[in-house]
Amino acid sequence: MSAAPVLSVEGLSVTFATPRGPARAVDGVSFALRPGERLGLVGESGSGKTTTALALMRLLKPPARIESGRILLGGTDLVAAPEPALRRLRAARIALVPQGAMNALNPVLTCGAQFADMFAAHGAPGGPARIAGLLRSVGLEPGVADLYPHQLSGGMKQRVCIALAMALGPAVIVADEPTSALDVVVQKQVMTTLVRVQRELGAAIVMVGHDMGLMAQAVHRIGVMYAGRLVEIGPVRRIFAAPRHPYTRMLVESLPGFGARGVFRGIAGLPPSLVDLPPGCAFAPRCPRAEARCTRERPEARAAGADGEVRCHRAEEGDDAA
């Protein structure tokens, strides 16, 4: 587990220019991705998980912009890389499985043409046989290459997107809510395909989503985001069995289970405005364990168990304090 990371993100911050001032959608996020690792980023809407995913590909458009930080992919800092270099890295070294495959494919080109133009752009060999092989590997008929996106179901479109992402053998796949547009049964199938393909390629994957249950079955580590900050990261089992951050704990407790009956527990309150974040911990206003220092000082990352980190002043106090 101590191999050099394929992707390391250091202090990544993204701001959106708004009429009320810059909104910090991603705030000092750092993590490292090991070769072949599957990392899940979870969080509620507006927590910055999709913005983080798009920032990794340098696909953010104004008014969003990367304010600071580094994204190191095999020795190249993507934040500083010029556009032509980025273009060559995209898909070839770091590929995207987009959110909502419904609209991710060009409606006026056949699926095959959308593979072909990518191969051409990278000067990679890719005839019909290669495309057929890729489609087969995600469980589609080779004939899909001749079809237009509107002739495919949502699940099939998402499989085409997965095949596109793996086509050039990238080291990192960024999957931005790869299943959120699909129904539950298809979600599971697509997720299984994505994981199988990722294993075969030996690529690492950053998977963004809000379905913690689905995520738990697919990834090695989970990172929890809140108000643009990565508040806790650690192995799946530890996150679910012994969450350190109060937000993670409340997220886990709010998941419905087969055994648990009775009152469904949510998290009271709303996330803070990203334009006007509290000076201390962003979760302090909603946190049942908040004390004076939580509203003043911003918690630094500290080790949490093996292979994990948490940003909470009271993380060390353990469960008994709850």
Partner: protein, 335 residues
């Protein structure tokens, strides 16, 4: 694919139906009008200086000749048969000229003038709009866009009058009206061609200037919208060059509604610029219609109105048939 065949058949049948309805309405409406058409026509002929003679006998003869003494259903069928042969009757004002002659002699002028200027403004405006949406559009272009868009707020016939005043009266470099040099026999030679071109320049320019901005604004809006689509993001994630993304992913999709607009404009072309033809006394359909209305020449008006409906139906048919080639979703949804 059988889906495409069924789609084409469906569209063809639809166009046939529309034309049939247009023909029928054209048949029914004059018969609903108060007054006897035969007596009206006789009156019109005599008013135009024709020799009528015994009014009652002439009416009976004309009634028989026009077939108006037959049952309405038989009249309808023979009317349909005549219409299919483009036999639209005889003009009352310029008796005995046939309506079809009048219409078809005017048609090439309108198609030439309006077809050309519509296509020119479509191409220029669309290219301009696309260029304006290009993230790295040069400043000069953006500066140029402003007056062009402002011009599109002026009605084309007013623009026509202004152009006429400037280039035919204040600085008389171009002819003030007509479709060709006055008194010239139309031969297929260079001089005639240049003459026609010189006469078409001002009316054409007024149409182009007045509609260029509309095309540009519509196209810019579409391209900006399309550039925000998810498939553009994925295209970037695939590492495609900016040019390919802009053309094959952006422009290609933004062009679809523009082409629909173009087809609609071409369908309305025949009637689209009556006022321009009137301002420039251009010998096209619009001018003919204007004259016929002034002369109360019902048959010519009828013939032109029928031509308008049929031309709209036919351009819609052509659009329907080529649309699946540019947007594969269309045949799937409506077949």
């Amino acid at each position: 694919m059988s889906g495409l065949g069924a789609y084409a058949l469906n569209r063809l049948a639809m166009a046939g139906l529309v034309i049939l309805v247009a023909l029928s309405v054209n048949f029914v409406i004059p018969r609903l009008m108060p007054g006897d058409p035969v007596e009206q026509q006789l009156a019109a002929i005599s008013a135009a200086g024709g020799q009528v003679g015994d009014m009652a006998a002439a009416a009976a003869a004309l009634r028989e000749r026009l077939g108006l003494d037959r049952p309405i259903f038989v009249q309808y069928l023979s009317y349909l048969g005549n219409a299919l042969r483009f036999d639209l009757g005889v003009s009352a004002a310029s008796y005995p000229q046939r309506v079809s002659e009048i219409v078809f002699s005017a048609l090439p002028w309108t198609i030439g003038l309006l077809g050309m200027s519509t296509l020119v403004s479509f191409v220029l405006g669309t290219v301009m709009g696309a260029a304006l949406a290009w993230p790295r559009a040069p400043l000069l272009l953006k500066a140029l866009a402003l007056p062009v868009i402002a011009l599109s707020a002026i009605p084309y016939f007013i623009l026509g009058i202004v152009l006429l005043a400037l280039f035919a009266i204040v600085w008389p470099v171009l002819p003030a009206g007509g479709g060709y040099p006055f008194g010239r026999v139309l031969n297929a030679d260079l001089e005639t061609g240049l003459g026609i071109l010189r006469h078409g320049l001002l009316p054409g320019l007024s149409i182009v200037l007045a509609s260029l901005g509309t095309w540009a604004v519509a196209m810019r809006g579409m391209v900006v919208g399309v550039l925000g689509e998810d498939y553009i993001t994925l295209a970037e994630a695939k590492g495609l060059p900016q040019g390919r993304i802009f053309l094959a992913y952006g422009i290609r999709n933004a062009l679809l509604p523009q082409l629909t607009q173009l087809a609609l404009k071409l369908g309305l072309l025949v009637s689209g610029a009556i006022l321009v033809e009137v301002v420039f006394a251009y010998p096209g359909i619009g001018y003919r219609l204007y004259v016929a209305i002034g002369q109360k020449d019902v048959f010519v008006v009828q013939g032109i109105v029928l031509l308008l409906s049929v031309s709209i139906a036919l351009t819609m048919l052509v659009l329907d048939l080529i649309y699946p080639l540019i947007d594969p979703r269309v045949a799937a949804r409506s077949a």
